[in-house]
């Protein structure tokens, strides 16, 4: 790609101070992202979520972030002030979190929290905000948007809640969407519906997507390119189409550990974790 990438991450490091010394959650991650779908895969603790959070600016205050460069559309995110980060967050960079049970505000109706997100960034009348919210709810295939608008998060199912979350995140038309395990908390049958809604909207609206998950198969079926992380480092980066020819044993392990219908493997191959991969 010759044009400047949407997002540049070069040697990103996130460090948490603890009583027993510093813990490096992310240790030198580099990648660039255009208007494409990038998957970040790894186990719990591999630093995949912290990478997403650092880009979004949601790293806890006591943690230390360093990078040669962390830039979004030419804006240096590390030197940007709180106010500027705030203006970006939600408007140009948005994030879908894992579980709608915890990520939606329990004491606000779904409609009101989507309007709040919208009016935070755009000076528009309430009536206009309501109209846009309703059409956004329709875009995430909620059949009866008027009814759902007035419901509280506990009154809707997980799949419906996650659709509302997607609606809230996309309403300002972000250029970069970070989805952190967006369907892990949902039922299998609902997962597919939510993924296809997300897929369609990302394609229609032309945004960059970072899809974070521990499920390598899911990520590879959804993204163009996959980064595999282990112990805070990128161990392999490859196009989704070439997944079968993955070279790193860790990537192969992630691929093989899932039980499949019709394959008789007892016991299941388990993942090897070698300290030298983290070196």
């Amino acid at each position: 790609m010759t044009v400047t990438p949407l997002l540049t991450v070069d040697d990103l490091r996130v460090t948490f101070p603890t009583r027993t010394g510093e813990v490096q959650a992310v240790r030198g991650v580099s990648f660039t992202l255009g208007k494409e779908r990038l998957g970040i895969v790894g186990e719990s603790g591999s630093g995949k979520s912290q990478t997403g959070r650092a880009i979004m600016g949601l790293t806890p205050g006591h943690a230390k972030i360093t990078a040669n460069r962390l830039a979004f559309d030419g804006i240096d995110l590390l030197s940007a002030g709180v106010r500027q980060r705030r203006a970006l967050r939600g408007r140009r960079i948005a994030m879908i979190l894992q579980d709608p049970k915890y990520s939606l505000n329990p004491v606000m109706t779904i409609g009101r929290q989507i309007i709040e997100a919208l009016r935070q960034h755009e000076k528009i009348t309430h009536a206009e905000a309501r109209a846009r919210t309703l059409s956004m709810l329709e875009a995430v295939q909620i059949r009866d948007p008027e009814r759902v608008f007035d419901l509280y998060p506990h009154e809707v199912s997980g799949g419906m809640g996650q659709r509302a979350m997607i609606a809230m995140m996309l309403i300002c038309g972000p250029e970069l969407l970070i989805a952190d395990e967006p369907t892990s908390a949902l039922d299998v049958t609902v997962q597919l519906e939510v993924l296809s809604i997300l897929d369609k909207l990302v394609a229609e609206r032309g945004m960059g997507l970072i899809f974070i998950s521990h499920d390598l198969r899911l990520v590879s079926s959804f993204c163009d390119r996959v980064i595999v992380m282990y112990a805070g480092k990128v161990v392999e980066e490859l196009p989704s189409a070439d997944l079968a020819s993955a070279k790193h044993p860790y990537t192969q392990g992630l691929l093989n550990c899932l039980p499949q219908i019709g394959s008789d493997r007892h016991p299941l191959p388990v993942l090897e974790r070698k300290p030298e991969w983290a070196a």
């Binding site: 997962q191 597919l192 191959p269």
Partner: protein, 249 residues
């Protein structure tokens, strides 16, 4: 094959809502039986009704030749049947050490040589004695689920009820826990009743399965039928498509 567990026309209601509508299931001695379905299909309720965590209003439950009703279960029942729950973050007491967690069932059932049993239980689930005096917050999700399995196995039950034992875990940790459960079943000749929404997991672990939807068993079949696509219910087909992953277009 003699029946380890038999459920006949079980009805469970919560106020006005009927969660189980005359469900019948038979599980043979030493068999591994799977129950699949989406959220709200009643699969977890069935397991909880068997375990006595919710009462059932109608129908009968027979475990190892003894009949049970409502939600009353005697000590003998819990010597025979133990349960592993979905969320290892919620099922372990946060202020008890692993040692205390494993001690409690042994005290309740009046076991002797407690020390040896705890050490052996930890060893069996692949955790050393070093884990014995830790609290659950000092353990990872996979380690917690191992402790939950150790707690269930320490009473040497015959039947293990597994309610989505790996769905809160990473794919890579899931493989380890599934292998551990299979090993335990082989070694102790256990009967499994396993609830999951993942057909891949059920087909790996079980010999027969029931598909549930809306509080009813839609169909019961051997796992081979799943591989050959030899099932009749449309719903089973939908679950199967879902388990194959996302496809564009």
């Amino acid at each position: 094959m003699s029946q380890a567990l038999s459920v006949r026309n079980m009805v469970v209601t919560f106020e006005d809502f009927t969660a189980l509508k005359r469900v019948s299931v038979d599980v043979g001695q030493g068999e591994s039986f799977g129950i699949v379905g989406e959220s709200g299909s009643g699969k977890s309720t069935l397991l909880r009704a068997i375990a006595g965590l919710v009462g059932f209003d109608e129908g009968s439950l027979t475990v190892s030749g003894r009949n049970y009703s409502g939600r009353k279960r005697d000590k003998e029942f819990y010597r025979t049947v133990q349960m592993v729950f979905q969320d290892p973050y919620g099922s372990l007491h946060p202020r008890q050490t692993v040692d205390r967690l494993l001690l409690e069932p042994l005290l309740i059932h009046g076991f002797s040589d407690i020390d040896v049993r705890i050490a052996r239980a930890l060893d069996e689930v692949g955790l050393g004695n070093g884990f014995r005096f830790r609290y659950s917050h000092q353990l990872s999700g996979g380690q917690r689920q191992r402790i939950a399995i150790a707690r269930a196995l320490i009473l040497e039950p015959k039947i293990l009820l597994l309610d989505e034992p790996t769905s809160a875990l990473d794919a890579s940790i899931q493989a380890e826990i599934l292998n551990l459960l299979e090993q335990a079943r082989r070694d102790r000749n256990l009967t499994f009743v396993m609830v999951s929404h993942d057909l891949g997991v059920v087909s790996h672990m079980c010999e027969r399965l029931a598909v549930m939807k809306g509080g009813e068993v839609v169909e019961t079949m051997p796992v081979e039928a799943l591989e050959k696509r030899a099932f009749s219910a449309d719903y089973t087909h939908r679950l199967l498509v879902a388990s194959e992953g996302f496809r564009r277009g």
